[in-house]
Structures are given as C-alpha cells and as structure tokens.
Amino acid sequence: MSDSDHTHETAPVTRFKAPTRLDYTVTAAAVTADFLRHILEQRLVGRRCPVCAKVYLPPRGVCPTCAVRCHEQVEAGHAGTIDTFSVVRIPFEGQVLEPPYVCARILIDGTDAPLLHIVGEIAPEEVTLGMRVEAVWDDRPLPTLARVRYFRPEGGTP
C-alpha cells in the first residue's frame, strides 16, 4: 500500500467521467467529391437517375427509389423555391449559426428533391412557403455546402 495518501473524501462515489475519443479519417466518395469540386467553382451540379429521371442535389450515388447508380451529371440553377421551413430560435450544443435563423427545404431549379439550407438577408417573419430564393456564395473556397453561405430572396432584399 502507498505510504502517502492524499484522498480525504468520505462521501460515497456515485459517478465517474468516461472520456472517449475516436479519430477518423474520412475520404469523400467519388460522387460527393465531384459535387464539392463543382461547389468550389460556384456550380451546383446534381445527378440524374437513369430510371426515374429525377435529379438530386447534392447528387446521390444511388437513386433512393430505384436502387441504381446515378452517373449523369446535371447542372442545376442557383435559385429555387422554399418548399417549407422553420425558424430555429434556440441555441444548442454543436450549433454553427447564431439563432434566430431560418432553416428551409429549398427546391433548386432543375432538381427534384429539396435541399436543406439557411435563408438569410430577410427577417424570419417575412419568409413564406413558395418564396423564391437564390444562392449567396461565400468568398472563401470552402469545399463543402457552406460554400453557399445562405439563400436570400431572389433579386436581393427589397
């Protein structure tokens, strides 16, 4: 037994902390890598399913309803329509933006399924279903969907 003893606690032990840390190295699959390279060039390029002809943005390696691989790349527009949205008003762990902000499902022109993104340059109360919005690009060359900083009302804020 140890001679010195610095432990003076007498209350029962009821819990302990268990720190875990796992480091991963992730490589973007080819379909995602293509999309992100296009994003760097300020282009939104989706993929079309060879069976149902639906266009997905971000592109999908496999059509989720037809289970076939999608190879054909399709240039989408930089504007779209708000399918639906919510206003995030609470802070939470892991959050990137300062609330309140509008999180919307946007159907980009030339695509068939909505993209989840942020709507900016407009008061949350002013956002409506069916509103037309356009991409505002970030100046930084981010190889992620954050290259589009947010979407704003088409033609800029009135």
Binding site: T14, F16, K17, A28
Partner: protein
Amino acid sequence: MDQPALTSRFTLAYAYKRSLGPVIGAFMTGLRDRRILGARTADGRVIVPARAYDPASGEPTGDLVEVGPSGVIETVSHVAQPSPTDPVQVPFAWALIRLDGADTSFLHVVEGSAEALHRGLRVTARWRAERDGSLRDIEAFVP
C-alpha cells in the same frame, strides 16, 4: 480517379458521465478507500468486482464482501511495449487475478518483466495516492 481524393480528419470525443447505482458505487467507493469488494451470490460464491447480480444467472446478489488486496495470477498476457493509453508505462502484463476470498478472477495489470510474471505468482494491489473511485485507483498489482 485522376483527381486527388478529398480527405478530412474527424474526431468523435465526449466525456460520458456514468452514474453507478448502489452496488457498483459501493465497489468504486471501496477502491477509493483502498478496499476491493466482491458480492456473494445466492449459491455462496463471491464474485469480483461486486455487482448487483450474478453474471451467470442474472439473479440478485447479497452481501458485499471485502477481498484481496492480494491474490494469485491465474492467466497473464505480457506487454513489452506499453501504449500511451495503457494504465502503466513500464513493462507489464494484463492478468486475471484470483484475489484472496474471491471465487472469480479479476482483470487488471501487473507490473514486471515477462520472465518475472507467471501463473500462480502472488501479487498485491499498489494503490494510487490520489484516488477518485475508479479501477485506476489501483495503479497496478505487483509481485
């Protein structure tokens, strides 16, 4: 692919909080107080570490019983080069130790060279000076 792959590092890290309940809590409290506790099963065996249930049957256990802190190595696997996450940073072994008074063996580490450690060797717990109620309150077992 003729273009370079996009590769990114990603870390999943979190400090989970484990609440212990009465029996695991008593065991950890015991370690902090330099005591190793087992639990007596319905058929009279003493299992270590103490748990609220018999691992073999799931049935509740009864009294807590102090065991060790010395015992005998039952099985040993030697590690010549400790990794930074290992409990000790000198040559050591992972060992199943039958503590005095226990009917099951207890997994911990034993310090020593491969030549020095073997089945049947008597070892005893060396306690950490700063203890907080976890298995690492036992720094290692030593011959």
